[in-house]
Amino acid sequence: MIEQLLGLLLSLVDQTGLRSITLGNIFMMIVGAVLIYLALAKKYEPFLLLGIGFACIVSNVPGSDLTAPGGLFFYAFRGIELVIIPPLIFLGVGAMTDFGPMISRPSLMILGAAAHAGIFIAIILAKMSGMFTITEAGAIGIIGGADGPMAIFVTMKLAPHLLPQIAVAAYSYMALMPLIQPPVMKLLTSKAERSIEMTQSRPVSRLEKIVFPFVIAIIVNLLLPPVAPLITMLMLGNMLREVLMVERLANTAANDLMNVITITLTVAVGSTMAADRFLTYKTLVILGLGLVAFIGGTASGVIGAKIMNLFRKEKINPLLGSAGIASVPIAARVAHVVALKENPYNFLIMHAMGPNLAGVFGTAISGGIMLALLGVK
């Protein structure tokens, strides 16, 4: 009788995950908990980190079928694999974004390209390590674009097997930009430079804002077909916003749809952090290279702004260069906060949004050229 009872209990235990939990699983659960701590206690991008952290913890509980075929997290990840989610995120971003700051001051757009040297530093270092092929190095480099959907998009084309590591690195570093960027920005600028106040930008008319998405969609589809799906959706969302006639559609894209996609995306990214796939030496190297790419991009943006100042009569605040790294609006906010600490009357946010938005195009253009050079369509 007792033997039967014990046998029954053991078979019950077998059906749970208790017997197959590993140290790796426990380690990754702690990683997930740290992400949640950063979101809740430090308020670092809770919209991203809460979903990623939660899914990371759950995915490392053995026995759960959430990440197996048939599980909901599995299908969330399929949305990424099939490159459905990144364009939808861009649709929402477009519907949320006022491109006015970029249209009003085109001279600062170049910072959106300057702040992407980090991508190329990471590519070269990845190749120097001898651990990665050129396509893998390209996918790792794109982490430095600080644009999650673009990183996913390019990685799915170049090195889909590295998606978990690259997606996690991109989103985690984006959330941690308030920690990563300021030391680099302060190191490369003087107090006087950080205190430079910007002059008022010109107002942008409604007609300009309506024409903008059409012009950009045409240019990108013409010159950069590999990344056209993302930028086209960005411009579609922006057009819905700016015409003012379809407020319901614009609001749906910017709010309800965006919220659903954000939940799906963060859960999908977190669910890729299972210990057996994630805890490898390559992951550590990729995370390291991703960090180098972010630091390199921030530095090159600031240096780019300082080079611009050599040729300008009206000096710009070099902190604006760091916003060129994309990651809207986190990088612009970081530039604003750092400037505000030096001069409490220096509100840089709207000025930083210009290079920040240009950074989105900078990443897309870099990614598109990279795909073309590597012969990937």
Partner: protein
């Protein structure tokens, strides 16, 4: 003349070439887009679209 499509070789030199060409072309394309944006104020000479006229249009 037939130009054969070429891709970057999977070497360290390839990484250098990819990086330099990509960075340079990114700057050129972004600069070209900014030039287009410099023309945008001229759109306002074509006419004026007010928010009110758009909002009341449906």
């Amino acid at each position: 003349m037939n130009i054969l499509p070429m891709t970057v070789p999977d070497t360290l030199e390839g990484a250098y070439v990819l990086s330099i060409v990509d960075f340079f072309l990114s700057i050129v394309i972004i600069w070209a887009i900014s030039l287009v944006l410099y023309l945008f104020p001229f759109l306002n000479k074509l006419g004026n679209v007010t928010d009110e006229s758009l909002k009341s249009g449906h």
